[in-house]
């Protein structure tokens, strides 16, 4: 099993290719990899419940750990207690931990 951390920094309301990252995460998880999708910057916008969050909830249901950068959430006034189902807030340390532990880390 390989460990992947995919970092999504793009806003799905602005970029049509955000779905690429979700698709990749789902495909990697489907073949038994350990996959985390980490949302950062405007990438956290769909973490709000109802704001195009269905893809994230579906992803979490498929075995992908979906996290949203706490700092990016605070910057945008998004309440950590009102995130979509399957999405949790987490510090940026998650990325540094993954790098230090040798995970494959991909920025999008």
């Amino acid at each position: 099993m390989t460990r992947y951390l995919l970092i999504e920094s793009r806003d799905p309301f602005d970029s049509n290719d955000v779905r690429f990252c979700c698709d990749l995460a789902q495909q990697l998880a489907a073949v038994k990899n350990e996959v985390t999708l980490f949302l950062v910057k405007n990438g956290v916008l769909p973490a709000r419940s109802g704001a195009r969050s269905d893809d994230l909830t579906r992803l979490a249901g498929a075995g992908v750990r979906v996290l949203a950068d706490s700092f990016s959430l605070r910057e945008r006034g998004i309440d950590e207690r009102r995130l979509a189902t399957g999405v949790a807030a987490a510090p940026l340390d998650v990325v540094m931990d993954a790098l230090a532990e040798g995970a494959k880390v991909i920025w999008h």
Binding site: S9, N42, D93, M96, L99, A100, W107
Partner: protein, 137 residues
């Protein structure tokens, strides 16, 4: 330190243009606090991040002087990160792509920044525990 790591981060964004730069500096800060060795390969506009000619300015529109404006200066943040890394037993090796520097006239950089080429990124990655490329879109 038994768990001392070496992490390479490649960045491309010029200062003041995208939050990717902020996130890159946040990641470097985390690594510095952990005492890791951090390699930074800056190319394209990112070679201007440690440009020593950056100057804080007042904001006449809002009626604030230099001190009140307290403008964020990337070169100062990078110098502070270098000090933070050293304080924790690590080091930041910051390489600016030479061609990118020449194109932009960005040869003046703060102490601790050296000139290199994309070959340095490959060598850094080879010598690191892991590498993150923060690409522009």
């Amino acid at each position: 330190m038994a768990d001392k790591k070496t992490i390479t981060i490649a960045i491309m964004d010029a200062p003041y243009e995208n939050a990717r730069s902020t996130t890159a500096l946040r990641l470097i800060d985390l690594a510095a606090r952990r005492g890791y060795n951090i390699n930074v390969f800056a190319y394209e506009g990112a070679v201007l991040q440690p440009f020593s000619g950056q100057t804080p300015h007042p904001n006449a529109v809002h009626g604030r002087n230099v001190e009140e404006e307290n403008h964020f200066i990337p070169k100062d943040a990078i110098a502070a990160l270098m000090r933070e890394a050293e304080r924790n037993g690590g080091k930041i090796d910051w390489v600016n792509c030479g061609l990118c520097v020449d194109e932009r006239g960005a040869g003046a950089a703060i102490a601790g920044v050296r000139r290199g080429s994309p070959a340095d990124l490959w060598q850094m990655a080879e010598a690191s525990d892991n590498t993150l490329v923060i690409a522009t879109r």
